[in-house]
Amino acid sequence: MSDNQSTGRRWPAWSSEWTLLIAVVVAVLATTAIDSNHSYLYRPLESLRDIARNTALLGIFALGAAVVIIAGGIDLSLGSMIAFSGMVCGTTMLALAPEQMMAAKPVGGWVVAAGIGMSLLSGLAVGTLHAWMVTSIRLPPFIATLATLVGLRSLARALCESTTAALTPSKSAQIYVSDPFFKMLRDNVWISVAVFAVLALVTWVLLTRTILGRHVHALGGNEDAARLAGIRTENVKWFAYCFSAMTAALAGVFYVANESVAAPVNQGRGHELNAIAAAVVGGCSLAGGVGTVPGTVLGTIFLRVVIDAVSKVIKTGADVYEGLIVGVVVVIAVTFGQVGQRAGSRRLLPGPLGLAAIPVLALFSGGTVAMTSGAMPGVAAGVVALGLLGGLRAWESRSAAAG
């Protein structure tokens, strides 16, 4: 009760966005300097295009992930939804124009429109399914979307095999899509960037300036209070899960275009976690109620910039490290977000657990450097990490004793 006053202090609403923006700039500048090819300097447009393509592709459904997270839920199924919607798109076009599809010829505008339309509808259907499981069956969102994470990919593969068996000479695990419209989507990066930008703008206005958006925040902030204030919380959830699944469906179309194939075995696999990571790095709280569109967009950009930076520095085989980078960025971003909010009163390396964490962290960082740059730099990095962490521990212990 009497502590309310102390917790009521807030940081300026934009501070995490500014921090992220600065972090993006710093990452770009550092990469420009460290990268031995200096590709940001000599081939800026090409580099920008790479980052823009990846950012737009991830950002489209990161926005969906963010909306569900702000509404107090979670959507784990986005990666499978991408595969499923891509498959629905491919299947629809194969069913409507089998000869052209098999001969890799243009299928015609209305067939493409039908394919994309069906794919968005599949998002609507899956979102409705999620909302029904969460509100009517009362499954925890984690369980409901875990079920579709596993189920949708399998369903997409089954759909692929049965339609190809029925419509083409042989059963196949993928459907090639070579219509010029999809080639255009692939070759013209700025289309996906424009779609992402428009979607982000619409989502931003929706979340900050409409009643529905306010209700999304209210639902995530305090679901019981929202219902008792007369908000139809089940409808708000319905919207949130449909919005999320439809952004993944839209992203699915771009995935198909980029790879010229609807391949449900691997398309978008694991990418739901990247989207959730982008939202979290952007300041969305998994407890619900907190998060912004600018934050999510910047979180996505930051994640892609760091991934790109590492690939520029390492040169070959950088995709192996993508997951590691995402993991490290998420931990660091959330750690510093929390420390900022608690005015630095918390120690990072307290007690025996903190002591045990020091060699673990040193070992992981040294090992990573060893694998990318050779044994000696690895050992050096490990020793440096050990020294820095030990120093931090000593400093924290001393200031804790003094304070």
Binding site: M1, S2, D3, N4, Q5, S6, T7, G8, R9, R10, V205, T208, R209, T210, I211, R214, H217, A218, G220, G221, N222, D224, A225, A226, R227, L228, A229, G230, I231, R232, G289, V290, A343
Partner: protein
Amino acid sequence: MPEPVISMQGITKRFPGVVALDDVSLEVLPGELHAICGENGAGKSTLMKILSGVYQPDAGSMMLAGETVRFSSTREAERAGVAIIHQELALVDDLPVLANVFLGRERRNRLGLLDDRGMARETARLLETLECGVSPRVRTGSLRVGDQQLIEIAKALSLDARILVMDEPTSALTESESARLERVIASLLARGTTILYISHKMEEVFRLADRITVLRDGHTVRTLDKDETSPREITSLMVGREISDSSAMPPRAPAEPLLEVRDLHLPWPGHVRGYRLDNVSLTLRRGEVLGVAGLMGAGRTELLETIFGVSDPSWRGTISLHGRSVRFTHPSEACAAGIAMVTEDRKRLGLFPDFDVAANISLTALDRARRGGLISRRAEEALVAEPIRATGVKTPGPHAAITGLSGGNQQKCIIGRWLLTKPEVLLLDDPTRGIDVGAKAELYTLIDRLCREGLGVILTSSELPELLTLSDRVIVLAEGRLTAELSRSEATEQRIMEAATAG
């Protein structure tokens, strides 16, 4: 005068942006019950959390029985014999009672496995001394708040605590549970335990305490012997001014019936009684406050929730508004029909901690905060200005954080939220729980004024004086049944308690 068992000198504690305690001193004598009084935000809980090792002070010193101590955790404080029972109970709902009592200090048998039988025996023994008949093996979350509180006390006893801090222990208890707690306190004192006791309830403080320390705005105002002071003096020291006696409200003139409930029956599947409410009828007129009295579990909240369309829709009977039968299945329908409800648990069921003051209030009327289809900051500010003024919310501005306001001002925001829906019937479920004396008086004035402006109010409260002060009529529930309907002149604490325990 004996040597003090606790001596805190010059305690200062800062939180970001706030000095919670500024040079506070406190001396507690061995074996006394020392009450700490003060409005919300005065620093009572912070001081007790420092004493029990939850927080560390930024300055000042603390002596226990003549020895200087410094606790960096509650565990250290417990070892020194200081235990705290928090206002919000800190029990693990899913564990059995015995596991909560011994949490963190589990006993093991010869094989190194948990000695559940020994811990259960010890827990049962402790609970017996506390007049608490629950089994050590039931799930803690299935117990009522009053019993859970005794579990916390049992935990403190098992620690052999010499000093026990109780932070508003009766705020969620029924009258009979409070009486039981008072007996427990008396036996603890008889055993020589020193008790520090935070409470808002003056009569309780004066019944129990030996000495009283008043805090205001993070400063010690004074420590007084109970026998040398009066509740009036304490409350005026707490707020720094005299409180007008709110029991002198002029009578109101109730008009035509607004809401009628006839033979309401709310089933309770799986419970021995079979119903939460049975055969309850009431009439609410325009411009009156209808008080609903009853012990915890009597069905007060359920009654309001059924009217508001929150509880399960399997109820029988009729509810009519302006003579038309209604049956709400969702709060939004009740809201559209002109009924508003301020819920019992403000933090859990009312507030949006991530929203600012304006957004917390405007939520029920966002369609009126739009310009060209989109919510406009200006329009929202204009919308909430009236309810902020009408309810007298003290806030630095419409965009201040709601969590920075005191409990009383938060409650005013929630009432303001509902005034925006222009209700005719206002359901208030224990609206002053956890609110300090000064803010209570303001809320009483507000409720009275709303009534005179033509609202009908149904009010529940766990404090009888409050019901007697505010109500034109009081109905009493006992175990889900209506046992009395008393007019203002008939209602006394004695008669209400008799009806509430009639069963």
